[in-house]
Symmetry: C5
Subunit: 321 residues, 5 copies
């Protein structure tokens, strides 16, 4: 699907879905935003003609995965940023690519998946078309800001997952928990990697490396940089927590083994002496006076009871039971 938004300071705002509408490039006082969402090859053709973008950049649009980056092609910038999506059904985090071309007065966005950030900005522009006259770098900021801000709720989902795992961990140590911790750790590592790359991009943008980003907007991009800084830090925190959980897991397995062993010690320590006692009075010697006492049997039973109880008390005192 292709969406073409045009605004000129005198004429006003038009929107169309016809690829042919891209033909005329914006002149002074005119602004163009073309959004290509899962475009057909015909629609995507506009990138090569009339927009005349470098074949490599066009190729990058089609081939996922790309790393987050910004390439300066002289007459336009080519950016790749990543949005994050959480699929609650499969319990999976997925990053999806957003390819952006930024020229002096045009902005082309290309993405194979539906993007809420783009939709929200589009809606804004439709309601207040003069927003486009604030410059396409302003529109770019709106989009990137939303994409990056959508990382925070994902970090929170991860946090709630960590909390859940922590509760499960205390209940019982099952190997599957370890697998889930590792999976989550990989997700966090992936998120951190993406955010770190994007932070690098925003350093470049906010220090004024690119002429299409006006000085007035640099401070706004610096603000996104601050957000990414916090996202990276949050991911680092989560990673650290998950690493500590692995250590707790390992330690709890050892501990459980320890308790099992103690329990076994107890059983053996109580039962084995009793066996020896019964063994003694099961011997067939001719001369065993105790065997002929009237109270021999109950006395032995009492002795066995005393031995058991005193051992249990001993264990209780050593805090083993």
């Amino acid at each position: 699907m292709i969406t073409i938004l045009r605004y000129s300071t005198d004429g006003g705002f038009t929107e169309s879905n016809d690829p042919a509408g891209v033909a005329e490039l914006p002149k002074d006082g005119q602004y163009l935003w073309v959004d290509l969402q899962a475009p057909t090859p015909e629609e995507a053709e506009v990138l090569s003609h009339p927009l005349n973008f470098h074949p490599l950049a066009v190729e990058d649009c089609w081939h996922e995965p790309q790393r987050s980056k910004v390439d300066d092609y002289g007459e336009y910038l080519f950016l790749v940023v990543h949005g994050v999506r959480y699929d609650a059904k499969k319990d999976e985090f997925k990053t999806h690519e957003l390819n952006i071309f930024l020229g002096k007065s045009f902005l082309i966005t290309f993405h194979t998946l539906h993007s809420r950030s783009i939709d929200a900005v589009k809606e804004n522009v439709r309601r207040h078309p003069p927003l486009m006259a604030r410059g396409m770098d302003f529109v770019l900021h709106q989009i990137v800001d939303r994409v990056i801000d959508s990382y925070f709720p994902k970090l929170e989902i991860i946090e709630s997952k960590i909390d859940e795992l922590e509760i499960l961990l205390i209940e019982d140590v099952r190997p599957e928990l370890l697998t889930r911790i590792f999976e989550l750790r990989r997700t966090v590592a992936h998120l951190k990697r993406v955010a770190t790359q994007e932070r690098e991009i925003l350093v470049q943008i906010s220090r004024g490396d690119f002429p299409f980003i006006s000085e007035r907007l640099q401070v706004y991009f610096k603000d996104i940089y601050d957000h990414l800084f916090r996202i990276v830090e949050g991911a680092d925190n989560h990673r650290e927590t998950l690493n500590a959980m692995v250590q707790v897991y390992v330690s709890m397995v050892s501990n459980q083994l320890n308790h099992t062993m103690r329990f076994l010690t107890l059983i053996a320590t109580i039962m084995l002496p009793l066996t020896v006692i019964t063994g003694i009075y099961g011997m067939n010697f001719d001369f065993m006076p105790e065997l002929h006492w009237t109270l021999g049997y109950p006395l032995v039973l009492v002795a066995m009871l005393v031995v058991s109880v005193s051992m249990i008390v001993f264990f209780k005192r050593r805090n083993w039971l």
Copy 2:
């Protein structure tokens, strides 16, 4: 709450709580300090008007958490630093933000929580108003110095907690100890992160990146830098100690298991041979001469005693008991 402190080299010192009092900006020889503590939206309005600060900086004041940073907006600096607070009841360390605007002759402090450092400096200024004439960078130094110095007692609280955990660890290895060690480690890591960011700010300030900080004061900010250097090092030390404690914990769990196993070995090694002996004389063979000896029974009991004692001696010698 808003507090407006004004001082002019000729006129003297005034203090008010009326937002309208900010209206007039300080001229040459005049100095202004506005402190906003948990301000109402109306009071905070002064940031936008008449102070005219950048919307992003104003937004940063309201939104926590921010990383510690310094932004140069040309006509003023915007700093975020963090104080640390220890809540003894919940046994929690919390960082709280202090947002500061520094202009040529004004200083605006913004914080949602009550800050002892700010109060102390305010009190100082009230007693000796000419302090303000030493420049708002001097007042800034007073505040930041106190904020950073308040980290040291927190490091000491952490140290005493570590000492306490070390004693508990030697007494008994409970899984909850591990959890507490990890929590403390996270606190230390957080503190270190904040201090590292602030150290970065103070590098910038003390090497003269910003025109509002006079050269005469740079050496004082360098001094705060030195304090932060020691705080980061102290946090590193604590972290290292806590990591070593985890290793000690794991090793002690293993050791305990080892001792339990030894004890079990002992019980089994002593009891099982005795069982075999009683088993032998419990057999029903017609021709077992020992059974008919008068001293058979006491001799077997003595033999069992000898076996037990010699085994205990053996274990003692191998240092297992």
Copy 3:
């Protein structure tokens, strides 16, 4: 084997296998590509004469292993890159070297093993000789692009091996699995090292350090750089997964030990009390009334059954069975 490909903008394309054909160096509008595949010493002689390359570079061609590098000899560049090959029979990954000399209008490739990337580019050139007129840097790009792209299928083989190991790991923990994980980890580390070195080369090429690489092609080499970036990241991912697998392995060994111990506890806990019971009624006291009850024997059997069953139920409840 030596292959000499010549193209001149006016004359056309010739191919020969005679070392003597190298003699004449290309003039303006002429292009030369000499491919030496496992050359005889006589064939390789062309490197020294007439090509007159530096003896050290020539020596590097013959001696493996070399690190991936680019050396600027003024009149020509000397590159070493590595292809990766998977030997399915021996289940081994092997890197092989590709030595390349790039001059203004000539390209010399030297490799002891057959290279599919070189063959493919040769075939392309044979079909469309004018490709050579696009510059020898273009031909170089074609070769390096193919060499690097051939890393991706190898990363996929590694991924499928990891998946296979993961399944085996869940089935049973055998020490050989650990050995295989470590081997795979070393392969991944080796691959990463090579890719990192090559990424370094491509940074240099794509930022225009070398005059023989035209500006127009730099963006294409930047594209290879992006691929290497993803390869390094992929290798990092695999490495992380393999490290996590080691932790899972260790944890599963502990877990299995834990379960074995539980099972032992169960057996001992059930059998030892029964032994004590039978021991009691095996004692030879004169006065043991139960021995003379008609139902004594069946009652004891029932008691033993009750003890066993109640213990099994206890274990089931504690989730130990």
Copy 4:
């Protein structure tokens, strides 16, 4: 205690202990060294007047701990270096601070503890006063050289402690060993940190950042840098060894557990079958022919011996005993 050493190229050498003697600052051809060892506040007053040092530097003298650093105050340098001391009684390593002010022709040393390095240099100067005419940077070099060289014997003490721990570790694995290893590791880490900071100082001095250090002496400070390089490397070595010792410790605990388990297996494996045999002939069946054999009893005893011996042989062969 204050010691004032003065030397002038014409006049000669004087020494006094009267703070008033500092009053006159050295002119051309005059040299002054003031050593303040645990000075009284009155003695230390000379720092502020007449020496007029910056209040922050003076404050740093009194407050320990400071990090090792060099501050350039324009008219003088302020250095903090650390000596290391080993208290054999408490078995503790302690660093102590040495604060140094270096001007064009004066040197002020300030230390709360007695310093052997300072004493040795003072003694040298007393014997050959013209040494001071070689410049106060020369005297500074003499002091710092001695301070740093005193690190080597401490590294050797640590090495001998490591050797001792290694021997103890092989003898028996006690948890206290682990604690001692960790303590030593912390000492080494502390030493390394101090040496690294001082190395940084010496980089700055030896590359000529400071005008008060003459070019002729830079190579001598470079020499101290080399020593610190070796100290840091030595500390790294020790740290690595101590880390390996922790791994050996953990592994030895596991190993011991392993051996204990084997021993238990042996006891159980030998005794339990014997118990079963005696159990069989302790049964009360009417028809058990073996019970009536004359040789039944000795045959069973022989059978039990055979079973025991063959099992011991089996264990010996599997190398378990």
Copy 5:
């Protein structure tokens, strides 16, 4: 021992062992190489006079260990490089120092131990004296090249040791293996450290930091740099392998423990039920019908056999035996 080699483009080649022969420094077209091998103090005197080297450099010659480094003294360079030697008897790797002074037309080598690399180059020079006329930097290259190349066979010795340890590790896990692995790891770490320092030196030499190294030779030193790059990489590989071996060791100890426990489980699980059975028929109840059956005894023996066999089958199926 002192060896003085002189060559002049017109006069020819002379060799002497008399320290006095150093007196005359080489003029234009003259070349001098003085080799001091374990020199007497009198022989070493030539360093101070007539060569007039800086006292610190002379001191560095005598004091080992020094780090590998290059110091630029203006009129000459002072290099320290390390050779590696393997003492097969003690099974030890040792580094030994080679101190080198390089001037415009002289080269002084100083080493306390006999050096094969030096000897080989000396021999070369004796055979073809004009080699010296290619410049003393050329002779330096010859020496350093040989010193560095002698690292490769040592890496191979380490590799063969690793292979040997791997075989031993699979045979049996003895604690001494761990100690040997750690020792080897320290050797590798030491080697890597030395090679890394020397790589740093060669970066400086090959990028032309020093005027006494002619531009023509820089590419040759770059070649040595490449060798060191591979040596460092090789050491990294070995280190990684050794680290993996430690993990394998630890895992094998756990595994062995696991198998021992399984074996114990088996013995106990088989024997304990049999004990219970014999216990039952060893009870002395008056009414136990089975005791009076003619086939009672053989039936019980059969029952015991069935129980044992079925348990063994059960264990076999669970793959525990």
